[in-house]
């Protein structure tokens, strides 16, 4: 029997209400190192990625968001109780630092999408010389055009990122921004926003996007701070805590 782990929180002695999580299993609190971890028992080696399980994971983390700001675990975290206790004990200073960072906040997510037609691309140049050059040279010319277009998009994305930061900078505690994570995405940003500033934040985004009519905005939240929970150290220990 393993534990499926949802999130870690401070100052929680009991669940606000009974809740079921992944695979419909009841969720319970596991206290360790003065912290509380929401877990459920799971007799499985892997967690299927299904709509129900994904939403179940999200719902459990969200169930305590009104009471406190937890650090969410990533979907699919299956450990033994001893592994979990070892992990929390070994990472306690880093976890407490993260909890202090997110305390009183929620995450707001902004994805900005551009219409490729809205970005000026260098025009293909056709000349007599092009017509005379071979397939290899034509390929290189086309490649150069693609690279120039890519550079323009990079510049545009950086400009939009700066604009977004200047727009909401006064309302956020921290941010995680990924520039051009996919071809049509200008950026994906996660903003850590204090709860009493959510309304202002939304109004600011709604107002500011009128300045960028060629961009599409996908604004969602409030979320538990999924984007602000990672501990850098975790990616430097390939075998985890045994």
């Amino acid at each position: 029997m393993k534990l499926y782990v949802y999130c870690l929180a401070e100052g929680v002695d009991a669940l606000p209400e009974p809740v079921n999580g992944v695979s419909g299993a009841p969720v319970r609190l596991l206290k360790t190192e003065d912290l509380s971890v929401l877990v459920s028992d799971l007799n499985a080696d892997a967690v299927p990625v299904t709509r129900e399980n994904a939403l179940g994971h999200a719902a459990v983390v969200r169930s305590i968001l009104d009471r406190t700001t937890p650090l969410p675990f990533r979907f699919g975290t299956l450990v033994t109780e001893q592994q979990l206790r070892n992990y929390v004990a070994a990472r306690k200073p880093a976890l407490e630092t993260k909890l202090a960072l997110v305390r009183g906040c929620v995450e707001m997510s902004v994805k900005i999408i551009w219409e490729l037609s809205g970005i000026e691309q260098p025009e293909p140049v056709e000349s007599d010389q092009d017509n005379k050059q071979g397939a290899g040279a034509t390929f290189l010319t086309e490649k150069r055009r693609e690279i120039l277009g890519g550079e323009l998009m990079e510049e545009e994305a950086a400009d939009i990122s700066t604009w977004l930061h200047e727009t909401v900078g006064g309302l956020i505690r921290s941010e995680q921004v990924s520039l051009r994570p996919a071809e049509k995405l200008v950026l994906s940003a996660a903003h850590l926003v204090e709860r009493d500033k959510i309304r202002q934040y939304r109004e600011k985004i709604s107002e500011a996007r009128k300045d960028r009519p060629k961009l599409h905005f996908l604004l969602s939240g409030p979320w538990p701070p999924y984007s602000f929970a990672n501990i850098e150290l975790e990616f430097k220990t390939p075998f985890g805590v045994s």
Binding site: A58, F75, K210, L219
Partner: protein, 76 residues
């Protein structure tokens, strides 16, 4: 904060999307891509091809689908 999707705005029209595929994709983006990791202890299996998460391109595709639906609705 009763819904994880209290507000999702798409494009220049202010649209509220609740319980939509967009919301599911945003949830997947968060729960599958982000969060605390106990290294080596993420074990998932993908059985339902509809929910294979291939990155943010899926989300963008869905946004475009939503736009298309929106345009059709406006034409009608």
């Amino acid at each position: 904060m009763s819904s994880p999707f209290e507000e999702v705005i798409v494009s220049s029209e202010v649209e509220q999307w609740e319980d939509s595929d967009l919301s599911l994709l945003e949830t997947l983006d968060h729960v599958l891509n982000r969060g605390l990791v106990i290294a080596g202890e993420i074990t998932i299996s993908v059985a339902d091809i509809d929910l294979i998460f291939v990155g943010l391109n899926v989300l963008v595709s869905s946004v475009e689908t939503a736009h298309e639906a929106l345009r059709k609705r406006q034409i009608e």
